[in-house]
């Protein structure tokens, strides 16, 4: 065990190496490039025994991963933004073929106007592809989540690919200490057993993805994907608990609570803002506010029961979304409201869209936002549309 000072990108690359990934295909794109470069180094210097296939596009990168994963080997890719959008068709193919591919998404805005900085909109717009989506708040969590992702994805009850998301630059290019576990412990945590549901073998040819007529079984295959997502909820929790037993770290399972008991206002967010929200809560608690923070780790599967369990404790949940669906609002707020609707004793939900295009969100801004929410609660007010943070 050792502690290295790593960029978020390199933290991901180290995790991929320790997971003994056998096949990698990537197309470089800012700010993900550091992952690809580091993995190439690992392969070049013999630290990682894997096939690396350079390709001409992200669409091909995912197609290559699908082909490799079909032979039962552990597979990895990384992309973001326009690259992910370009990959979109194959993203569906991977999940509907139920292949446990892991992809790091180094969240970046989609243009125009041209912008390479952080935003969750790229992965959020892949919401309905049938991939598990885990959002990480710091370098250590990004590292640990890659390892956990392989365990969850390869579980025979799940067999779904996973996106491990970390914000571009905010996490990808900054450095923080990352505890690197012993290889034996990682090997024991995620032993590689090739999946059995579909294996390409030249001596026993098969075809897959063949035509299903409307009256055949297409609908049922989609039902099975949904079931696998539902099963993944429990598997993510179990995996995260097992991880804690082995490695002594816990980043929350599906959601992570911070001082939510007795809180009148809880700030819900994903990614780096969720880490920062804990500091905002401490500031507010010092000033006498009953504040709490909630981190959403799994966006797919969406942990409705866990969110309701926490929601029951409070008067108001304030959501910060680092993504925008123009004409509706932020994705997390929308989905949270849908999860709470119709259940007894649910709190008010206030929604804020912030940090688009990499616009920095400061601690002070998070604190002030929460104070705004406390004011609405105290005055017995109600939600009045999206709160735009620092709109000029």
């Amino acid at each position: 065990m050792e502690t290295l000072i790593l960029t978020g990108n390199h933290a991901v690359a180290y995790a991929v190496k320790m997971a003994r990934v056998q096949f990698i295909s990537c197309y470089p794109i800012t700010p993900q490039t550091g992952i690809v470069e580091k993995l190439s180094d690992f392969i070049l210097n013999g630290e990682l025994e894997a096939v690396f296939v350079p390709v001409e596009s992200e669409h091909s990168a995912m197609a290559a991963c699908i082909g490799a994963s079909l032979t039962g080997v552990r597979t990895f890719t990384a992309t973001c933004s326009h690259g992910l959008a370009y990959m979109h068709e194959m993203v569906h193919w991977a999940s509907a073929t139920r292949l446990p591919i892991i992809m790091a998404v180094v969240n970046r805005t989609i243009g125009p106007p041209w912008n390479i900085w952080a935003e969750h909109g790229d992965s959020i717009s892949q919401r309905d592809t049938g991939w598990i989506q885990l959002y990480t708040s710091n370098h250590q969590e990004a590292f640990d989540t890659v390892l956990q992702a392989y365990k969850v994805a390869e579980d025979p009850d799940v067999l779904l690919p996973v996106m491990v998301c970390l914000e571009g630059f905010v996490l990808s290019h900054t450095v923080q200490p990352v505890v690197i576990p012993n290889q034996e412990d990682v090997d024991a945590f995620i032993p590689h057993e090739p999946w059995k549901h579909i294996i390409i073998d030249v001596d026993n040819p098969i075809t897959h993805g063949n035509l299903q007529m409307p009256e055949d079984w297409f609908y049922e295959f989609r039902f099975l994907m949904h079931r696998a997502m539902e099963a993944a909820k429990e598997k993510i929790v179990r995996c995260s608990k097992d991880f804690e037993k082995t490695f002594g770290r816990n980043h929350g399972h599906l959601v992570e609570e911070y001082k939510c008991d007795g809180a009148d206002v809880i700030l819900l967010s994903m990614g780096s803002l969720a880490d920062q929200a804990k500091v905002a809560v401490d500031v507010l608690r010092d000033e006498g506010y009953k504040a709490g923070a909630l981190k959403l780790r799994a966006f797919r599967p969406f942990p409705e029961e866990e969110l309701r369990r926490v929601a029951k404790k409070t008067k108001c949940i304030l959501v910060i979304d680092r993504n925008l669906s123009p004409g509706k609002g932020g994705a997390v707020a929308s989905e949270l409201k849908a999860a709470l609707y119709g259940f007894k004793g649910m709190p008010m939900v206030l929604e804020c869209v912030a940090g688009l295009g990499g616009r920095d969100v400061t601690l002070e801004e998070e604190v002030n936002l929460m104070k705004q929410a406390f004011k609405v609660v105290e005055e017995g007010g109600e939600p009045s549309g999206i709160i735009w943070l620092g709109l000029k």
């Binding site: 549901h197 026993n204 098969i206 897959h208 993805g209």
Partner: protein, 303 residues
């Protein structure tokens, strides 16, 4: 007529039932029906495969968009379909409904079973098409004369409305042939008299099951896969109305036909000549079309 009159067409890819169902919709509209609908059933697009199309005809606008399950009339343009599986063909046909058939052999007619009160009409659509040269890419457009037979059987649309619909649908030079086919069919359609034992209670509406060994989602693997097998869809030779025959005198053994056959129904014999496997040759005529030596002819198949 009360409510909605529903029609189901049965044919094979290339025989024109989708076109004919559109023409029927236009004709019915011309006739004064406000609600008309033509629905093609888009299945695996394979020339020669069984396909269906549907019509709805009503005095009120139609808000239904599902397929037709309990038709008032069933039109079968290819009699091999009826002999292959007559219960699938008349599934869901309503009491007092209409069954309109292309030139069924007398043995097919005598073994026919239909729901109570149904009327059965026949016409020799194949001969009409051959006589008028109503063919496209070597296949008779059997569904066109069947429009005339349908008009005669049901009295829902007039010949005049069909004629106008044909005019709005086809280029001027092919209008006459199509209208003639409809007229000839109208005047030669006859009602079949069935014996009392040929009536039965209606066969419930259902869809044919394609993968009978799976009953429930719990039987499914996470991903469907298939292993290569010969004739997994059955003997596609049963679909054939025309039979390709190779003239070895003209054949140069270039094997274009072997390469183009969409069913892989052409083998190569020990002398290097193409050898057609008639168990699986569906009679699509692709080989006939591709042969550079015109060594393949398509003959009407007398199965």
């Amino acid at each position: 007529m009360n409510g909605i009159f529903e029609v189901r067409w049965h044919g094979r890819g290339g025989q024109g039932i989708v076109t004919a169902s559109k023409i029927l919709a236009i004709a019915a509209f011309n006739e004064g029906f406000v609600g008309v609908q033509s629905i093609p059933w888009i299945g695996a697009e394979r020339r020669g495969a069984q396909i269906e199309a549907y019509n709805r005809i009503s005095y009120a606008p139609i808000l239904l968009h599902s397929q037709v399950y309990a038709p008032n009339a069933v039109i079968v343009v290819d009699q091999s379909i009826l002999s292959e599986n007559s219960s699938t063909t008349i599934r869901g046909l309503k009491k007092n409904g209409f069954l309109v058939l292309n030139a069924a052999h007398s043995n097919v007619l005598s073994s026919l079973r239909v729901p109570e009160g149904c009327s059965v009409y026949v016409v020799d659509a194949t001969s009409i098409c051959l006589e008028l040269g109503l063919q496209v890419a070597g296949l008779e457009i059997l569904a066109i004369p069947m429009l005339g037979a349908f008009a005669k059987a049901t009295d829902l649309v007039s010949i005049k409305s069909l004629e106008n619909a044909i005019k709005s649908f086809f280029e001027a030079d092919s209008v006459k042939k199509n209208v003639d086919a409809i007229l000839k069919a109208y005047w030669s359609t006859r009602k079949v008299h069935l014996k009392p034992e040929q009536y039965l209670s209606p066969i419930p509406p259902s869809k044919p099951v394609r993968i009978p060994e799976i009953h429930h989602w719990t039987d499914l693997p996470p991903v469907p896969t298939s292993t290569p097998s010969k004739g997994s869809i059955g003997k596609t030779g049963d679909w054939r109305t025309h039979k390709p025959v190779v003239d070895r005198e003209k054949c140069s053994k270039c094997l274009f036909c072997w390469m183009y056959c969409p069913e892989a129904a052409i083998n190569v014999d020990s002398d290097g000549f193409p050898e057609i496997d008639y168990d699986y040759c569906k009679g699509c005529g692709v080989c006939f079309n591709e042969c550079p030596r015109e060594a393949i002819s398509m003959l009407v198949d007398e199965k």
